[in-house]
Structures are given as structure tokens and as C-alpha cells.
């Protein structure tokens, strides 16, 4: 009996830790989607780029992946800004029969990024073997009489904590700074923001940069615990979408909740159904959320607030 509880709790904890990291990925996308109504199918590839940056920084300069956050975030910021300015903005102006141009553009960007990574880095699996990789905290070390054993992996936990810190910083930025408020204004009502003198074009570029840097941070935080290969972008793009839709477009709180939900769900699926079915689970949540809860968790929260 206690074995089952132990397995359940362990899965739950693993899911929450994973969820925290996922939330970071989702936050980047929800901000981009919320402000610019842009669907970025290259999101996962941006994360892949960040992971390679972290990897090479580790291999060449022996900088710990967690410290590489300070490198990957700014680099990804500029990459995001560049993509927005030179590719995405022009596409938004083009008139064509098919409205989904911007989505297709990001697909193209994603293809180029992942293929370039394959060319330069080969499709070998890579990882950053840090010395604390297997370190963990065990419940029984602290609570001798515990009815079951739980373990918290060191790297997962540190990644989670850093993710939380970044999220809190983001929250401060969005709510307390002028630029953050301008970004939120642009997300809520473009015309009103324009009228209030917000430089919308600049906001869009910066927002894409921020979104990219968030997923860049996620990349640095993931590499200690995950294998790296050029085509891993796709699954993370999907994860980002599931979280964004689940949480509600443009809602930062929603992205956090959505990330946690997805993390726990995947952890549960992996434990009880088997690894192979995890992607299917993601897709099914995605489609289910699109159909049954298009406003995401955020709309549920809104409904509670207005009491209807």
C-alpha cells in the first residue's frame, strides 16, 4: 500500500518539478501569442539553440549550465529580436489568399534552425555530464520515521528553483516597470496602446526577444537533465502550445498553471502507461483544450472572479 503512495507522490513531485520548467517554456510562447497574436512554431527550435549554446559553453569553457543562463538568455533575446524585425514583421504586411502565412514562416524558420544544427553539430546525442547529476535529497535522511522514501533530484530541483526565480522576475517586470506595462497594454488592446503613445512596433520586437530569452533560459536549465539533439525542438514547441492553450492565450498565470498540470500529467502517464504514449497524451490534451476550454484555465479563473 505504502509503495503505491510512494510511487504516486514521487511521480507527483517529479511532475511538479518538470512542470515548473515547462511553465517557463509556455510563458515565452504565451507572451508572444498574447502580444503579437503570432503563433511561433519555431519555439522549440529556439530552445534547442539555447541548449547547444549551453552545451558548447560547458564543453569549451567549463561553465556550469546553470550559469550559462546568463549567456543564453541575452543571446536568445537578440536572436528573437532579429527574427521578429527581419522576417516576421515583413510577413505580417504581406497580403495573400492564405491567412496563415506567419505560421508557415515560423515553420520555415524552425526547419532552417534544426537543419543547421544537424549540419554543424551532427545528430549525435549530447549531454552535459555535471558532477552533481546524480545527487539527490532523500526524505529518509531528514525524516527518519518516514513511511516511504521520496527523493528530490538535485539538478531538477535547482532548475525548478531558478525557473521560479525567473518567473518572479518576469512578473515584476510586467507589472512594475513601464516597459512591462506597455507590453501588457499592447497585448490587451492594440489600438488603445497606440493611442496612449506606446511604440507598438518596438514592443513587438522586444516581446519576441523576451519570449525567446525565456525559452532560452529553459534550455540552459534543461540541459543538465535532458539529452540534446537537433530535432528535439518539435516536441518542445508542442509542449509550449499545450501549455499556452491549456493556460489561456496571453495569460501568464495560466501558463504557470498549465505548465504544472502538463508536467504532472506527463509524469503520471510515463509512470502508469509507459513512455511511448506521452506524446499522444500531449496531443490529446492539446486538442481537448482547444475544443472544450478554448479560453484555457485563465477563462475559468476569470469566470470565478466575475461569479457567473
Amino acid at each position: 500500500m505504502s509503495v503505491q503512495i510512494e510511487v504516486f507522490l514521487q511521480t507527483l513531485i517529479a511532475g511538479l518539478l518538470l512542470g515548473g520548467l515547462y511553465a517557463l517554456i509556455g510563458l515565452g510562447m504565451t507572451i508572444i501569442m498574447g502580444v503579437m497574436k503570432i503563433i511561433n512554431l519555431a519555439h522549440g527550435e529556439l530552445m534547442m539553440v539555447a541548449m547547444y549554446i549551453a552545451y558548447w559553453v560547458f564543453v569549451l569553457f567549463h561553465i556550469d549550465p546553470y550559469l550559462s543562463v546568463f549567456i543564453s538568455m541575452p543571446l536568445l533575446f537578440f536572436l528573437g529580436v532579429g527574427l521578429q524585425k527581419f522576417l516576421i514583421n515583413p510577413v505580417l504586411k504581406v497580403e495573400s489568399i492564405l491567412p496563415e502565412n506567419q505560421v508557415i514562416l515560423t515553420v520555415g524558420i524552425g526547419m532552417v534552425l534544426s537543419n543547421l544544427a544537424t549540419i554543424f553539430f551532427t545528430s549525435d546525442y549530447r549531454s552535459t555530464p555535471v558532477d552533481y547529476a546524480t545527487k539527490a535529497w532523500y526524505l529518509t535522511d531528514y525524516w527518519k520515521a518516514a513511511p516511504f522514501e521520496l527523493s528530490l533530484s538535485f539538478s531538477w530541483t535547482v532548475s525548478f528553483i531558478i525557473a521560479v526565480i525567473i518567473t518572479v522576475l518576469l512578473w515584476f517586470f510586467l507589472t512594475k516597470t513601464d516597459m512591462g506595462k506597455s507590453i501588457r497594454a499592447t497585448a490587451q488592446d492594440l489600438d488603445a496602446a497606440l493611442l496612449m503613445g506606446v511604440n507598438v512596433k518596438k514592443m513587438r520586437v522586444i516581446t519576441f526577444g523576451i519570449g525567446a530569452s525565456l525559452v532560452g533560459a529553459a534550455g540552459s536549465l534543461f540541459i543538465p537533465i535532458y539529452y540534446l539533439y537537433p530535432s528535439l525542438g518539435g516536441q518542445f514547441t508542442l509542449i509550449a502550445f499545450v501549455i499556452t492553450i491549456l493556460g489561456g492565450l496571453g495569460s501568464t498565470v495560466g501558463a504557470i498553471i498549465g505548465g504544472l498540470i502538463l508536467g504532472v500529467f506527463e509524469s503520471m502517464t510515463a509512470t502508469y502507461l509507459g513512455m511511448g504514449w506521452a506524446p499522444v497524451g500531449r496531443f490529446l490534451i492539446f486538442v481537448a483544450a482547444l475544443i472544450f476550454l478554448p479560453g484555457g484555465v485563465a477563462s475559468l479563473l476569470r469566470r470565478k472572479r466575475f461569479g457567473k
Binding site: 489568399i97 476569470r302 469566470r303 466575475f306 461569479g307 457567473k308
Partner: protein, 240 residues
């Protein structure tokens, strides 16, 4: 029996009541005006009648039959057509194709659809423009295209949503003439308009909405002298 009857129609969005217990009836053959300050709920009401929104409370009856739970295309099939405030031409299609597309509802073949389309375009004065891509049309003609398309579905009732906004005086007179001609064809008309001159000169009866509620109903003369109506509009102007 009214052709169209609204009984206690309310529509809530979240906690906000866009329409609150609105009731009135439109008789066959009349031109019935729907007026009210901005945000009064006029277009919302059209969306409810047309089937884009389900009413939160109340019923819409057409020829005595409840239509509140039908989809827009079914409601069109029953005989209610509508134009949109912000016109929606099928942009990359020609004027003629726009109307053929809507004529297919009643036509049994493509040739018949084309016949109906041609006749409707001639009626609306757009026949000469029939091969122009509709996105190249100036606003006045786009509005007439909206009307032509709606007419091609052979409606009994036509919901006109602000067809006269943004037109210059001569276009305005043309529009009024077309509305009268449409009525002469036997189509009943429910029209939203902001242009007082238009409403007052062509409507048989008028209903006034303010903040989602009906505040007055009657002939144009009665409405013009109704203190509640005056206050609703002036009150709007005063706070502006």
C-alpha cells in the same frame, strides 16, 4: 400574427447584460426601425435574431415558429437575410460571383443561380460592375452588394445593419430609394440606422433601445416627441 416576434430577449456576456428583456413584433410588409445610442445593443439584437448568438433568455419567433436555437444558415433558409454593419464582401470574388454564391440557396442549378444573380444586380444597380473583384468596390457600392447578396436568398425579412453609415448625401438618397424598392418587392425590413433622417423618413414604426432595454416603441412622430428618447440621446451627447 407578427412576421418576427421577440419575446423577452435577454443576452448576457459574463456579468454584462447586452440585452435585457426586449420584446416587440415586426409586421409583414413594414419597414421597422431599430435605433438607440451607441452600445445600446442593436447589433447584438441582430446577432440574436440571425442566429449568431443564442439568447440567454426569451424566444425569437418567425412566422410563429421558434428559431432561437437554429444556426444562422438555417435561419437564412427560413427566410431571414441580413447585412453587416462592417460590410463583408467575399473579397476575391467578383460582384457577380458574390451574388451567385448566395443565390445557390434557392436555385436548383448554376444557370438558375446566375439568372437570379443577374436580376438582383440589375435591381441594385450593380449590373455594370458585375465582373469587378468586390474588394475594388467603393464603400457605397459595397453596401449595395451586401443588399444584393441578401436579396438573392429571396428573404421574407431583411435585417439591415447600418447600411447608410459613411455615405455622402447622394449615396444616401440612393440607399433610401433602394430600401423602398426592396419593400415594394414584398420584403419586410428591420433596419438599424443612426441617420435620423433616414429612419424617420422611411420607417412605419420604430423601437428605441438604450443600455440593452427597450425604452420606447411607436411611429416616428411619437418617438421623436418621446421625452425618454430625447433624454437617451441628449444625455449621451451631454456626457460626451
Amino acid at each position: 400574427m407578427s412576421l418576427l416576434e421577440l419575446r423577452g430577449i435577454s443576452k448576457f456576456f459574463g456579468g454584462l447584460a447586452a440585452l435585457n428583456s426586449v420584446s416587440f413584433g415586426v409586421n409583414k410588409g413594414e419597414i421597422f426601425g431599430l435605433i438607440g445610442p451607441n452600445g445600446a445593443g442593436k447589433t447584438t439584437l441582430f446577432n440574436v435574431v440571425n442566429g449568431f448568438y443564442k439568447p440567454s433568455k426569451g424566444e425569437v419567433l418567425f412566422n410563429g415558429r421558434k428559431i432561437s436555437n437554429l444556426k444562422p444558415h438555417q435561419i437564412c433558409g427560413l427566410g431571414i437575410a441580413r447585412t453587416f454593419q462592417v460590410v463583408k464582401p467575399l473579397q476575391r470574388m467578383t460582384v457577380l460571383d458574390n451574388v451567385i454564391a448566395s443565390a445557390f440557396l434557392r436555385a436548383k442549378s448554376k444557370d438558375q443561380a446566375e439568372e437570379i444573380a443577374v436580376e438582383t444586380l440589375q435591381f441594385s444597380g450593380l449590373y455594370d460592375d458585375r465582373n469587378i473583384k468586390s474588394k475594388s468596390l467603393p464603400l457605397g457600392k459595397r453596401k449595395r452588394l451586401e443588399i444584393a447578396r441578401a436579396l438573392a436568398t429571396k428573404p421574407e425579412l431583411l435585417l439591415f445593419d447600418e447600411s447608410c453609415a459613411g455615405l455622402n448625401p447622394s449615396e444616401l438618397n440612393e440607399s433610401i430609394e433602394i430600401i423602398k424598392k426592396v419593400r415594394e418587392r414584398g420584403v419586410t425590413i428591420l433596419i438599424i440606422e443612426h441617420h435620423m433622417k433616414v429612419i424617420m423618413s422611411i420607417s412605419d414604426r420604430v423601437v428605441v433601445l438604450n443600455y440593452g432595454e427597450k425604452i420606447a416603441e411607436g411611429t416616428p412622430m411619437e418617438i421623436a416627441n418621446n421625452p425618454l428618447v430625447i433624454e437617451a440621446y441628449l444625455g449621451d451627447a451631454q456626457s460626451a
